[in-house]
Assembly symmetry: C2
Homo-oligomer: 344 residues x 2
Amino acid sequence: MDYFTVGPSQLYPIVPTTIQRALKDGITSISHRDQKYITLHKETVSNLKILLSIPSTHSIFFLSSGTEAMERIIQNTVQLHSHHLVNGSFSDRFYQTAVELGKKPTKTEVTYGASFDWNHIQIPSGTELICATHNETSTGVMVPLRKLYDLKRSSKTPLLALDTVSSMPYVDVDYSQVDMTFFSVQKGFGMPAGLGVLIVSEQALEHSAGSYHSFASLSTYANKYQTPETPNVLAIYTLNEVVKDMLKKGIKSIRQDIDKKSDMIAAYIKSSTTYDYLVTELHDRSKTIHVLKVKGGSARSIKLLELKGFAVSSGYGDMKADFIRISNFPSHKVKDIKNLLKNM
Amino acid sequence: MDYFTVGPSQLYPIVPTTIQRALKDGITSISHRDQKYITLHKETVSNLKILLSIPSTHSIFFLSSGTEAMERIIQNTVQLHSHHLVNGSFSDRFYQTAVELGKKPTKTEVTYGASFDWNHIQIPSGTELICATHNETSTGVMVPLRKLYDLKRSSKTPLLALDTVSSMPYVDVDYSQVDMTFFSVQKGFGMPAGLGVLIVSEQALEHSAGSYHSFASLSTYANKYQTPETPNVLAIYTLNEVVKDMLKKGIKSIRQDIDKKSDMIAAYIKSSTTYDYLVTELHDRSKTIHVLKVKGGSARSIKLLELKGFAVSSGYGDMKADFIRISNFPSHKVKDIKNLLKNM
C-alpha cells in the first residue's frame, strides 16, 4: 500500500533499515543517561538546527506528540490570556487546550476552508501569546508567516506559537519572529508516531510551569543533551538519520520537490470533473495537505483507491463524507504522485 | 552485548522480528482513527487485562512514560493532599511532582536501602491519595503490597497509587485495592522506551483535570479503543505481541522464573567477597532489581563486565561510585544469568 494519508503517512525511505540497524546495534537498550545517548541527542539537535536554520539561541525539546506541545506551550507561558487564530479543527484544539487548562483564551475564527482577513484581526490588549496553525490539516489552509510576524509586532504581543505539524520541514520559519514552533514526526518526516519536537526561543524560556515538562526542567536536561524522563530513544535515533538524509538532499531541493508535486496535483484537480479544492483562494492553499471535495461522496473514491493500493485520508470531522485529504510530504516521490493521480 | 541494565534493558526475544513485521505490514502508517488501529488497541487492552488479571471495571490508558504517569495521577486526582512513601529517588520524584504541581504533599521518608516501619506510618487526615513505589529502582527495595492495602484501609484514604515501573509483570497486584497502577515498557516488558501504561479504577476515574490527558479525555477515547493524540502505535503493536507471547508462557511460569533467577543471584552474592547487597533485610530485597555494593568501587567492575559483553547499571545518584545494579526481567533467561554470574 502507498500511503498518501495526512499522518501517520508513508515512511521516509530509509526508516525501515534505520530501525533495523538500531535494534541490531542495541540502541534501544542504552541508558538515556549514558554517553552514547548524550552523543545521539546532541547530534540530533545539531542536525535539526542546520536543516531548519534554527539559531543557536533557540532550544529544542523532545516531547511525545504535537498535542502535548500545545498543552506544554499553554501551561508554561500563559497566565490567562492566549489569543487563537482558529480556522480548523487543530487550531480549535489549541484554543480548547487553553480553555481546559483554566485560562481565558480569546479567538479570531473564520469559516473552515477560508483564511483570515489580516487587516482586521483584533488582538485584545493584555494578550500574552498568539497561537496560530501554519497548515490546517483539517482544511488544507496554509497561512502566510509574514502576516503572523506582523501581527505579533503590531499588537505588541510578547509571544507567538506556531503549529507546523503538517508543514515541517517544508515551511521556512524565521525563528527570530517565532517563540515556539512545534511538529510531530509522523507527517513531513515520514516516521512512526510517538515523538513531538518543540523549538523554543530565549524569550519563551523565561516562563516555566508544571513538573517534568516545565520549560525549566526541559531546559536543564536539554543543556546536558538529555530529557527529564526516559524518552523514545528509537525515534530520536531515527529522526537523526532522516534529518541527515535530508541534509544530503538539501532542504532547498526538498522544498522545491514539494512545490513541484503540489503543482502536479493542482493541475490534475483543475482538469478533473470529480474533484475540487475546499480552499477556493489559490494563495491560501496548502502545498502539503490537499483537501478535495469528491462528487458523489468520498467513500467510493477512498475504496476504489484502496483497491488499487493507494491509501488517502477521508475529510476531517463533518467533512468526512464529502471530502478526501491527500498528503504531499518529502517521503512521496514525483513518480508516486504521478501514479496516484493516474489512478484517481 | 547482553543488557542487565535496569531499563532500558535487554529486548524481549520476539521484539526485533515483531518491529520488522510491523514496518513491513504498514502498521506505522495506519491512522489512529482507523478500524485497524481500533482493533489493535482493543486487543492489546484485552490481552493485558488477561495477563495481569485486571478486572473489567478498570481502564487502561496509554501514556508516554512512567514519569508522565506520576504527573497525570497527581494532576487528575489530588486537590492538595497526597502522602508519599519515600525510600529512594523514584518515590522522591513522585513526591517532587506533587510539589511542582503546587500541591501540599506530605511524606514518610526512610533511609535509602531500608523499608518502612509499617506499624508507625502516620497518614495525615484529609489525605486524598497515598503514593507508593512497589520496587525502588534506585535502591532495590520491594515493599509488601498487603501492607499498602492495609494502610489505605486503616487510614481511610480514598485513593492509592502504585509505581510498578520496574516490577511489572512480576508483581501480582490486587487491583480491587489499588486505584492507579503504572509501568513503562522498557523494563519488565523488554521493549524500546516510549510508552507508559496506567491502570485506573472506577473510583479514580471520578476525578479529572487537565487537557488531552485528563482522565475524562483519556476515558472518552479509551471507551472507543483510541487515544486523544496520535499515540506510539508501533509500541502498542509491539506490546500486544509481547503480552501474547507472555500469555503463551503463562504468567505463573514467568514469575517463578524470576524467583528462580533471583535466588541464583542471591546465592552467588552470599558466596562473593566482592559484592554485597545494599538492602540488608532479606524480605525487603527486590527480585527484579539487585543493588550491590562493590568492594573497590563500581567503575572497574562495570568496565570489566562490559569487556566481557555484559552491560550492568551503575548505582543511582550518590551511590554511583560504589554500587552496581543488575536487572532480572522476563527477557533474561536462566542461562543468561548463569553466564553473567560466572563472569562477575
